[in-house]
Symmetry: C2
Subunit: 437 residues, 2 copies
């Protein structure tokens, strides 16, 4: 199937917007292939504040506009991507796009948490979708999970670390003993915190995301003004130390939970969580959401919660969804072969380090013989050990394990088959991989 290219109107060419352009350039062909040729997309219009400003990702001059009406109304724009942030112009852009029956992709959690009800009503009225995977937890597909994968689940609870900036600051306070101000300054220097970090550190960025998740899971609008939010500005080294001593770590946690009476608890605040819980290991700018559904049980979704490429990953996935709905190409979702001559690597070529256990007859020279065979094949040994059973210290048949440096599996197999011929080796050696993950 061949189709004409869909035009994207990109409102906002900042960090994420540039990431979207780059991702489409890098992987546009792959997307076309994976969708059986139904989805090709290109940025046909881009809303910027200053067209003259030099930018990392170049776009043709005629693509740029400073007037959002021009972007939404352009007949060459089929899908509108809103990445300008804020809740005023962004609202007008999304609303106008929906009225024009142009699907919208947005990463604007504040807009949806504050004014989503109005926009989703427009979406229904004009039967035009609003996609917003990028609004919560960057590259983690948590919106799709709650909306689609867990649609048959009553959601008991969702607990998440969903603000990377706060999480980075708390981790630095924990591991480097920094105070809040120093850790924040460091995060800003590294580009993990905005020049105005207020929404990140005061908890509201996480709260907007939690509100979105809760509305999807529980089906009623939640007024942000009624949500209790506390940020991490009040966290001090003494709190971190005290938590540590008790076996906790301090995290900015968003908690959403349905109670037996049907009421929904939603709160964001610094929290002590047990060091042994999997959420406690979510460090740096990573995000994670633990979801407990009545059928799926406990699940956890972990990944990069912000940044150019991860957020662009979610925007692009939404763009493909939007494109598919425009193309009515929603039927076949099975495996679609798109790569001719794809090559499965023969197992002999794969390379890792190895653990090998030999069953040997214990006599002087055994290690030397095996080691010599490995050396002859150029396979390095990082360790060897023959555990002595205290009950049978003079056993004739013993296990002998070798840790081997990285080499091809083919070379290993070849060498092991030679070693297997040695008198002292009684059976086929057992091989495990040592994985670098």
């Amino acid at each position: 199937m061949q189709c004409s290219t869909l035009g994207i109107g990109l409102a906002g060419v900042g960090t994420v917007g540039s990431g979207v352009i780059l991702a489409l350039r890098r992987n546009g062909e792959l997307i076309r292939d994976r969708t059986g040729g139904t989805v090709e997309m290109t940025v046909t219009k881009a809303l910027v504040r200053d067209p003259a400003k030099p930018r990392a990702v170049s776009l043709p001059d005629e693509t740029l506009t400073t007037d959002w009406h021009e972007l939404v109304e352009d007949p060459a724009v089929d899908i509108v991507v809103e990445l300008i942030g804020g809740t005023t112009d962004a609202f007008d852009i999304v609303a106008a796009a929906l009225r024009a029956k142009k699907p919208v992709v947005t990463g604007n959690k504040a807009l949806l948490a504050e004014r989503g009800i109005e926009l989703f009503a427009l979406s229904r009225e004009f039967d035009t979708p609003v996609h917003f995977e990028a609004a919560v937890a960057g590259g983690i597909p948590i919106i799709k999970t709650v909306q689609e994968s867990f649609i048959g689940n009553r959601i008991h609870s969702m607990s998440g670390i969903i603000n990377g900036t706060s999480n980075y600051i708390l981790e630095r306070m924990t591991t480097a003993g920094l105070d809040f101000e120093t850790a924040l300054a460091e995060a800003q220097q590294l580009g993990y915190a905005e020049a105005d970090p207020a929404l990140d550190v005061n908890g509201w960025d996480a709260a907007h995301k939690a509100i979105l998740l809760a509305t999807l899971a529980y089906g009623f609008p939640i007024d942000p003004e009624k949500v209790h939010v506390a940020g991490i500005e009040c966290v001090r080294p003494i709190d971190i130390d005290f938590a540590k001593r008790l076996g906790y770590v301090v995290k900015l946690l968003a908690v959403v939970r349905e109670h037996p009476d049907g009421s929904v608890e939603l709160r964001v605040q610094p929290s002590f969580i047990a060091k042994s819980h999997i959420l406690a290991s979510v460090n740096g700018v990573f995000n994670a959401v633990a979801v407990h559904g009545d059928a799926a049980g406990e699940s956890l979704f972990y990944g990069r919660g912000a940044g150019q490429d991860p957020t662009a990953s979610s925007v692009v996935a939404d763009l493909v969804e939007a494109a598919r709905s425009l193309r009515q190409a929603t039927g076949h979702r099975g495996f679609l072969p798109y790569r001719e001559g794809g090559r499965l690597m023969p197992i002999e070529e794969t390379e890792t380090a190895y653990y090998v256990r030999f069953d040997v007859t214990d006599r002087p020279g055994v290690i030397a013989e095996i080691a010599a065979a490995l050396a002859g094949a150029g396979i390095g040994i990082s360790g060897t050990h023959s555990p002595v059973n205290p009950e049978t210290p003079d056993a004739e048949f013993v296990d002998m394990v070798f840790l081997l440096h990285t080499c091809s599996f083919g070379r290993l197999q070849q060498t092991l088959s030679e070693i297997e011929q040695l008198d002292c080796v009684n059976s086929t050696p057992v091989v495990f991989r040592i994985e670098k993950l």
Copy 2:
């Protein structure tokens, strides 16, 4: 929007099939609400071996059949769910359903890994979808993630613990020092392993799943006969011990990785992985897949990899997808309000334990005064501490922290506002939650 109910033909009413019936009964109304009334489903035909056999989940007699043709051809069947397993009858059922243009939902990884190419070709030919989220990692939406959420990503690698039986056995060998045979027998007793556990412990169940993931990620069919698979039958306590001593754990790992030359590595084998890696903490019957995409970066998806309810969760999600495509109801995917009078719990009613830090003027009686106020409100104290700064041991203003037992936030706030009035308390106390996750 109101629609007639869609009929499901359920081939196989075993563990998962019963789970699907139960999930639809339990949450059918929720699904209808969440889809704006577009999706109502009921089982109209069920394929069983012996209609007379008593079963946990009752179905009307006229619904039961022993002839799959009857199920597929029944005009009251709109969607066919294949859960009988195997690659012969299951193939015929899926193929016949597709030819009849009835969407298929299956959890049969062996069928798709062995004969998926034929079935997906039929799916394209008859423009009818095959959904198979339940085929890989039970309740974890990894198929949707790879196919949809990461569609704009080049997938660098996928590493997974995707056979719960093996993982349970390895964990028991690790934590309880059992040998393989004993741990397997235990898993069978608990229902975690089939009477014939061959496919689980020999690695092929995991391999089938890895093959499915790899074909989706890389776009070419992979011949199972060319895949190198080793199971956990060869793992012995000595290997587990040795791994432990070196800071590793032994896991049955499926590794899929694309190399710079485009060739794809795919293997399943017992592996040493570093104890500190997040996959090392995946225990029991849980599954996890770490996915590395070029845009999304490192991600991890964790959850229940098997069992009645988690697998049914994925089948039901696929059923909703299939139903939506039949209903052409793919437009609006934003938030849909479906619960009138939903109630956000006032923050005062929420309950946790707390950490509270007071800024106090250090004089005799401070702890007593604060403790008395807490006691008066019936709030229990589990600990208190006032860290002394060695440089200023006689400081006038000090921090004093209290750990408090679970109580409502309203009661805490009320009590803290009283405490704030005490002469010795210099500012508003700082409160963190202590979360039970």
